[in-house]
């Protein structure tokens, strides 16, 4: 593999890991709220969270482009407040990966929280624990394996992200080029041979990642 191909591989791993870390706190909080609380608008939020799974990725990318461009409602705020440009930068790659992998994290973490017997939480309350302590010392530790499995799946999804990234980040060499984008571009240019090493590296990384996720999620967990 060329030095440029390795740069693409490491960049893809970095943005996938960063996007997974960024969505982890919010994803866990949303998953817990869906699994353990009844509130107005819960069904709507659940649906919105799941939308990226079903809306065409390029459509999601277009929506992100409209929201985060310099003149977009969110992009203009970030530009003025922090001097951050989002679209067509590495930040846009992280954003696209985060949005597209968020539903996988939430669904898996939600199932993990639902798998924790509510009796443990009830008894913790009778032992004097506040709601925060119940969450931090009972719900979260008992759901950890499911949450880690969800994070692993989110990372794997981010590694393969293409459609939304192409629209909101473009295919800029050494700036926003990921494995998926590079494979696509090489094929478009007729450089199939250049795409093959990236193909195999990509399959290898995702295979190991998903396998780890499967092992973690199917390990016997105390209940």
């Amino acid at each position: 593999m060329t030095a440029e191909a390795w740069q693409i591989v490491f960049f893809t791993i970095e943005v996938s890991a960063l996007s997974t870390l960024l969505i982890l706190p919010l994803g866990v909080a949303v998953a817990w709220l869906i699994a353990r609380r009844e509130w107005a608008g819960k069904a709507v939020v659940e649906t919105v969270v799941m939308l990226p799974l079903f809306v065409p990725p390029v459509a999601t990318g277009l929506l992100l482009l409209m929201l985060f461009s310099r003149r977009g409602p969110l992009g203009s705020v970030l530009q003025r407040g922090f001097g951050w440009d989002i679209v067509f930068t590495w930040r846009a790659v992280v954003l696209a990966c985060a949005v597209m992998s968020f539903p996988l994290l939430v669904r898996t973490a939600q199932a993990a929280f639902e798998g924790v017997s509510s009796r443990f939480e009830d008894i913790a309350r009778t032992l004097g624990a506040s709601e925060w302590r119940v969450f931090a010392t009972i719900s979260l530790p008992l759901a950890t394996r499911g949450i880690v499995a969800g994070a692993v799946l989110a990372f794997a999804r981010a590694m393969g992200e293409f459609g939304a990234t192409a629209i909101v980040a473009g295919m800029i060499p050494r700036k926003t080029m990921t494995i998926s984008l590079s494979i696509y571009q090489n094929i478009q240019l007729g450089h199939d041979a250049a795409a093959l090493p990236l193909l195999f590296v990509s399959i290898g990384i995702v295979f190991i990642t998903v396998l780890c996720g499967q092992i973690i999620s199917t390990r016997k967990r105390p209940r």
Binding site: S117, R119, F120, D122, I123, A124, R125, T126, L127, G128, A129, S130, T137, I138, P141, L142, P222, R223
Partner: protein, 223 residues
């Protein structure tokens, strides 16, 4: 200690739990067939379920009153609860389980210390073990000790020995009597085992389809 339930109404799946009762004996048994509402009764006393009507009072302090919208949360009620499945926290060692609800600020004498409670319940050698490795009888005693260490003013026991054979039950009954005699914690003991009633209880209330249909001495009920 006196616990009063006044005009309580808690809708359940097939019927409503409707009751008026005073609990003022050291050990009061709740006797009735499966599905009579026994666990729901303990849940509402502990604050885990909220009746739609009525009031709950411990001594001179009202802890729930539907009319006044008063509802003291479970963590502030100081009512211990040992559920049927014990709900020992599987990710914590015995020591951490015992100390989960330990409230030194509430302790008025040296009886309620980890060392003394572990000694009385004969679980001192188990402190560093994982709870999942304990035998049924050991788990039972750890669950009792955990509840005692939260210094409750009342302890609710929901068929805590239902999964044990009769030999083990006989060995555990003295430990329950120690809770009454050594720690002077009043117990409300739910069971459908007449032998446990006779061995433990000072008075028995009979529950059927959510209504208290009688009360008397264990001998009367068994007869």
């Amino acid at each position: 200690m006196s616990l009063q339930l006044r005009n309580i109404r808690l809708p359940l799946a097939d019927f409503a739990l409707e009751t008026d009762a005073i609990f003022d004996q050291p050990i009061t048994g709740i006797f009735g067939p499966s599905g009579a509402g026994k666990t729901s009764l303990l849940d509402l006393i502990s604050g885990l379920r909220r009746p739609v009507a009525g009031a709950v009072q411990v001594d001179d302090k009202v802890i729930f009153d539907a009319a006044d919208r008063l509802n003291v949360p479970p963590r502030l009620r100081r009512i211990g609860y040992v559920p049927q499945d014990l709900a020992l926290f599987p990710h914590l060692k015995v020591r951490a389980n015992l100390l989960y609800g330990y409230r030194p600020a509430l302790i008025e004498n040296e009886l309620f210390t980890l060392g003394h409670v572990a000694e009385v319940m004969e679980i001192t050698p188990l402190l560093e073990r994982n709870v999942t490795t304990l035998s049924g009888g050991e788990q039972q005693r750890v669950a009792f000790a955990r509840a005692i260490l939260s210094a409750p003013r009342l302890l609710l026991l929901d068929e805590p020995m239902s999964s044990l054979d009769s030999r083990l039950k006989k060995r555990l009954i003295p430990f329950l009597l120690r809770i009454r005699d050594e720690f002077r914690i009043p117990l409300i003991y739910v069971t459908h085992d007449a032998g446990e009633l006779v061995a433990l209880c000072d008075e028995v209330l009979m529950l059927e389809r959510g209504r208290l249909i009688g009360r008397g001495s264990p001998a009367d009920v068994v007869a």
